[in-house]
């Protein structure tokens, strides 16, 4: 048991519960769900009942009334066993639900958060577009005011839960003529039916019939991905979508600043996911190298193997402190933007190195689907891409170091 300064006894209890769940409910299905790119609805239902889908939100809104660090621990522990489960919780909580908690009116919170926090339906966040990735302010989706509603047209890509989910926060341009293009962006809440209606109705999760759905919002094609294969990533298409004015989220023209805040939160989540993944890979190595014999000895007895294990463990320790520190800052209402970027940058790159070493330590076996490290190395990569690439994190960090100097061209 790690005694680390950011955590209380309750956090350890959260960890125990999630660890137990991950070992008993997630481990047995992780491989097949990855191979078949199958979304784990049964476990989503269970995770909802256990409070994993709304860890940091207040009980009056259906949450577990824990704190942000608890949420981080949930993500980390799930990722030790399966990153797809972890991103499902993370994208749902910090991308799908937190913008409504953070910027929503009381009315909006009361309507949407209980459904999300209890895990009854899944939420998502639609920011990325074909021409607006790292340059998220380049959004081309437009929202035009028309009487009591907005008409929104555009297509979001790579949206986690676009298929399985029902409630989304999206961004669209409300003022194409805004002098600063970032000021012309506004956030909205839109809804649609899950693509897995039948399965959801049977299981009793993922679909709420009496939630009014936004006409003109639908999911596009499902991505066939390298990793996070049991997580749902699709296009989210808005075609003359009729969004009632009351579904505008936050102030007009504040969409850009607001989603930057959401991304800061999300980044700590991806940091926690990457941390968990690296820890999971190390655990696999510890057991494998203590079982595998070559040259008449367990490979764990070779000093060359010791060095690899020690390096992974040391990097994990460093990543752990960055991730928990960023989460702790956020929890204590201190500025955390730069630390969140550092945590995500470092932890995701540690996960990549750790899983690469893990496959190496497993030799040929680690290159097959018989061993979880084969999945882990694939799952690690997207940590360096989603919610801002490693390069974007470095830009965010440098901007904090240099301030306006970053943009001075020198001409």
């Amino acid at each position: 048991m790690y005694d680390i300064p950011y955590l209380t006894e309750e956090h350890h209890q959260v960890r125990e519960i999630v660890r137990d769940f991950a070992e008993r409910e997630v481990r047995p299905i992780a491989r097949d769900h990855d191979l078949e790119a199958k979304f784990p609805w049964e476990n989503v239902k269970k995770m909802g009942e256990l409070g994993f889908m709304g860890a940091p939100w207040p009980a009056r809104l259906g949450g577990a009334e824990m704190d942000y660090l608890s949420y981080i621990i949930v993500v980390e522990e799930l990722a030790k066993v399966d990153a797809s489960h972890a991103i499902t919780v993370s994208a749902h909580t910090t991308l799908g639900t937190s913008p409504i908690m953070e910027f929503g009116s009381e009315e909006q919170q009361k309507r949407y958060v209980p459904l999300l926090a209890s895990g009854q339906v899944l939420g998502g966040f639609g920011l990325t577009e074909a021409d607006a990735g790292s340059d998220a302010g380049g959004t081309k989706t437009v929202a035009v005011e028309k009487g009591d509603h907005y008409v929104i047209n555009g297509a979001k890509i790579f949206i986690t839960h676009a298929g399985v989910g029902e409630i989304f926060v999206i961004t669209a341009r409300t003022d194409p003529k805004a002098k600063q293009r970032n000021r012309g962006i506004t956030s909205f809440i839109v809804t649609k039916d899950t693509v897995d209606l039948e399965a959801c109705q049977q299981l009793g999760v993922g679909h709420v019939p009496d939630l009014p759905k936004t006409p003109g919002v639908r999911a596009g094609k499902k991505e066939d991905k390298l990793g996070w294969r049991a997580s749902d990533t699709r296009e989210l298409i808005l075609e003359d979508a009729e969004v009632p004015k009351e579904n505008r989220l936050g102030e007009l023209g504040k969409g850009f600043v607001n989603f930057l805040k959401t991304l800061d939160d999300g980044r700590i989540g991806v940091g926690a996911l990457s941390l968990g993944l690296a820890e999971g890979a190390l655990n696999e190595c510890l057991s494998y190298t203590a079982e595998r014999k070559q040259f008449g000895r367990y490979i764990a007895s070779f000093q060359g193997v010791h060095f690899a294990l020690a390096d992974i463990a040391t990097e994990i320790e460093a990543a752990r402190h960055l991730v928990y520190y960023a989460a702790w800052l956020r929890q204590h209402d201190k500025p955390y933007k730069t630390e969140a970027a550092m945590a995500k940058l470092f932890a995701s790159e540690v996960a990549m190195r750790a899983t690469t070493k893990a496959v190496q330590l497993h030799g040929g076996y680690g290159y097959t689907t018989d061993y979880p490290v084969e999945r882990m190395i694939r799952d690690a990569k997207v940590g360096e891409i989603g919610e801002g690439t490693s390069e974007i994190q470095r830009i965010v960090i440098a901007r904090a170091l240099l301030g306006d100097l970053v943009n001075v061209t020198g001409d």
């Binding site: 048991m1 006894e9 309750e10 209890q13 959260v14 125990e16 519960i17 137990d20 769940f21 009942e49 256990l50 409070g51 994993f52 860890a55 009980a59 577990a64 009334e65 824990m66 608890s70 949930v74």
Partner: protein, 250 residues
């Protein structure tokens, strides 16, 4: 229905056990401790009974050091209503003094049912439950795999060699839980915070010295790897020979 569940803090079954420097106790440092798995079945059963009855109280009672408060809080997070820690610096290994202290507490409580795990996975003595029943002069069914309570009467099943034994009994009674009785729930995250607000009473107790003394602890000898003697019917003579002369089990 008022139900007491006795729970014990034990090392996790996957913990790597080291023997302490005195050679008589395990070295607890770095060892993860958990709620004894058989006691988890007992807690789950109590919660199910209360749930089915729609009313009642489930009290988690533990004999142990201060650290056992954590174990009690796990039971509270699962849904038990309150906890009692019978605090002793060293609960020892003798089941009788432990049973005496538990019985003294439980006898006062007016419980309709007292549930325990059939054994604790630390010392495997399998004795405390039945001793508590005897001391309280209550009916006892041990290692149950099924339980029905209707109109103040109980019916429990226990697995015996080649069959199932069905035992009927009057309440109050003492029951010990076997694996298979139920599937214990995971505590929900919300339960953790709720558990903090539930009452947990700490009572100092003194155990009598008992009649058992630990002389020495030793780890079991490492198991030898298995051996494949051959395949198909031709292998039978070699297998018989090995079972007779090496393993000496025939």
């Amino acid at each position: 229905m008022k139900i007491a569940v006795c729970i014990k803090r034990v090392p996790d079954s996957e913990a790597r056990i080291k023997i302490g420097s005195d050679g008589k106790e395990i070295d607890g440092s770095g060892v993860k401790f958990v709620l004894n798995p058989y006691d988890e079945y007992a807690v789950e059963e109590a919660l199910k009974l209360k749930g089915a009855a729609g009313a009642g109280e489930v009290v988690a009672v533990s004999l142990g050091t201060d650290a056992a408060q954590e174990t009690i809080r796990t039971a509270l997070a699962m849904g038990a209503d309150r906890g009692i820690l019978l605090k002793a610096d060293n609960a020892g290994v003798d089941p009788l003094p432990a049973a005496r202290v538990l019985a003294a507490e439980l006898g006062e409580g007016g419980y309709d049912l007292i549930l325990l795990g059939k054994l604790a996975i630390d010392d495997y003595s399998q004795a405390v439950g039945t001793m508590v029943a005897e001391l309280l002069n209550l009916p006892c069914v041990s290692a149950i795999t099924h339980l029905d309570i209707t109109d103040g009467k109980g019916k429990a099943e226990r697995e015996i060699e080649g069959g199932v034994e069905v035992v009927e009994f009057e309440l109050p009674a003492v029951l010990t839980a076997e694996k298979g009785l139920n599937e214990p729930r995971y505590p929900a995250l919300r339960g953790i915070m709720l558990a903090k607000k539930k009452p947990l009473e700490v009572k100092d107790v003194t155990l009598d010295p008992g009649g058992l003394e630990v002389l020495k602890l030793a780890l079991p000898a490492e198991r030898k790897a298995g051996r494949i003697v051959g395949e198909g019917p031709e292998a039978v003579p070699a297998l018989l020979d090995a079972l007779r002369n090496e393993a000496k089990v025939l």
